[in-house]
Amino acid sequence: MKKRYSLKSLDTLPITAISFITTEGNETGEWRSQRPILDQEKCNRCGLCWMYCPDNAIHAEGGAFQISYTYCKGCGICAKECPRGAILIEKEER
């Protein structure tokens, strides 16, 4: 995305609303009221949670899946869809 713009002044703004920053800085994990916990022992690496996460908060690392709590909104879909019951939902403590 265009990096040469900034919000600093009128002159550095684009001429109209042309977005130039990705949403990756938006830590939607702060919305979470419940937290999915993945049990690597039970996980069979089928990838259903990765496929169904609406926030792309699950990714593969070294052949296993990890949940990114920076973005996970705690919807619970991954836990519901996991065929092995490997993901448990806990109350989020803050």
């Binding site: 009128l10 109209t16 042309i18």
Partner: protein, 381 residues
């Protein structure tokens, strides 16, 4: 090459000469012959453009917008109801800062139906962020469209070129169509600007609290337009030998009474001014060619030396009066000039504004006290 053509044909030839790339338009009287001719140019390959036969004017403008965000040179033409239907999108086009050029053939708005000339259609769109020109001849229409592409592609603001329905759109006159090589020199392909690009993705037009900043930028560029349009006009004269000004004045230097108007009424006013001069009455004529941005300074300059001003509007804003009159008064107020301004509404719905009507208007400015209200000319008995 000199050709006897209608002003609508002049529009089409100008778009051909400007090498528009995407044209989307929908027919409406009295604009239809523009669409027909352009679709013909595209079909035969005379113009290497995509012609989109849209299902409405709303879609015509939407297609111009998205094609323009891709960097294409775009064109549409409409009139009256069609322009009103586009209203929402006119704001999008200017807000996205797109160099779209449109011809609007002025026609009265329903209801009741009336297919003839009336400037209220385009004047209703004055706050949409489009530059607006009002033309007087087929030649001026051709030249203004060519100029408009240069203007819009520099300022990144859309331009609406207006011509009165039938009175101008369907009148055949000699129009000098310049050599393509000359046009190409004056109007090269559009300079590069920020566009949608898969190799460098970004999003155009999202929600923002910076709205006020973007509007401020638009305001700055509208202000700049006043100077830039004059520069382009001067450059145009160098190449083609013709210029028009933001306003055009006739015998205004020493005039006691100046008639202010737009479009074709100005021609009749000049004939009457000549007659008045012969009788020793010092009458001048000022035609407003550019309405947005409003060239207040250029209008007030010649007016301030006069004793009276009469504004003739082929348009009106219910509950307020003539639209040009309001803008002229506001500009005079801006320079603290207490000149009496007489307002006349004439020619609505394509009614002829004759030399007799103009003489009556002049007579009234002499006889009547200025009550600050509009006087209606030509009501049917």
């Amino acid at each position: 090459m000199k050709k006897v053509i209608s002003a609508n044909q002049a529009v089409s030839y100008a778009v051909l000469a400007a090498k528009a790339q995407v044209i989307a338009a929908y027919p409406i009287t009295p604009q239809s012959s523009i669409v027909e001719m352009l679709s013909g140019f595209c079909a035969t390959g005379a113009l290497q453009a995509k012609f989109i036969n849209v299902e409405s004017e709303h879609s015509a403008m939407a297609a111009c917008i998205s094609a323009s965000v891709m960097g294409a040179r775009t064109f549409t033409a409409t009139s009256s109801q069609g322009l009103a239907l586009m209203h929402e999108l006119l704001h999008y086009a200017s807000g996205l800062r797109l160099p779209i050029v449109m011809a609007n053939v002025n026609r009265a708005l329903a209801s009741p139906f009336n297919l003839k000339a009336d400037l209220s259609d385009s004047l209703s769109q004055r706050d949409t962020g489009w530059l607006q020109f009002y033309c007087e001849s087929g030649q001026e229409v051709f030249d203004t469209i060519i100029q408009s592409y240069r203007i819009s592609e520099k300022l990144l603001l859309p331009v609406m070129v207006n011509l009165e329905g039938f009175i101008l759109s369907h009148t055949y006159e000699i129009v000098d169509l310049p050599e393509q090589s000359q046009i190409d020199l004056f109007l090269p392909p559009a300079p590069a600007r920020e566009c949608l690009d898969v190799d460098n993705p970004c999003m155009f037009g999202s929600t923002t609290d910076y709205y006020i900043n973007f509007r401020y930028k638009m305001h700055q560029d509208m202000e700049e337009a006043k100077t830039f349009c004059s520069e382009i006009d001067a450059e145009f004269k160098k190449v083609f030998g013709r210029d028009y000004g933001l306003v055009s004045t006739y015998l205004c230097e020493d005039a006691d009474l100046i008639l202010v108007t737009a479009g074709t009424i100005a021609g009749t006013c000049r004939v009457v001014a000549d007659r008045c001069r012969a009788k020793g009455m010092k009458v001048g004529v000022l035609r407003v060619r550019m309405f947005r941005p409003f060239p207040g300074k250029q209008i007030c300059e010649p007016l301030r030396k006069a004793k009276k001003v009469a504004v003739i509007d082929r348009d009106f804003s219910p509950g307020c009066g003539g639209i040009f009159a309001q803008e002229v008064k506001a500009s005079l107020q801006g320079i603290n000039c207490g000149l009496p301004v007489y307002e006349f509404i004439a020619g609505l719905g394509g009614k002829d504004v004759t030399d007799k009507d103009i003489e009556l208007i002049i007579e009234q400015t002499h006889k009547m006290p200025n009550r600050g209200e509009s006087t209606w000319i030509g009501l049917l008995k």
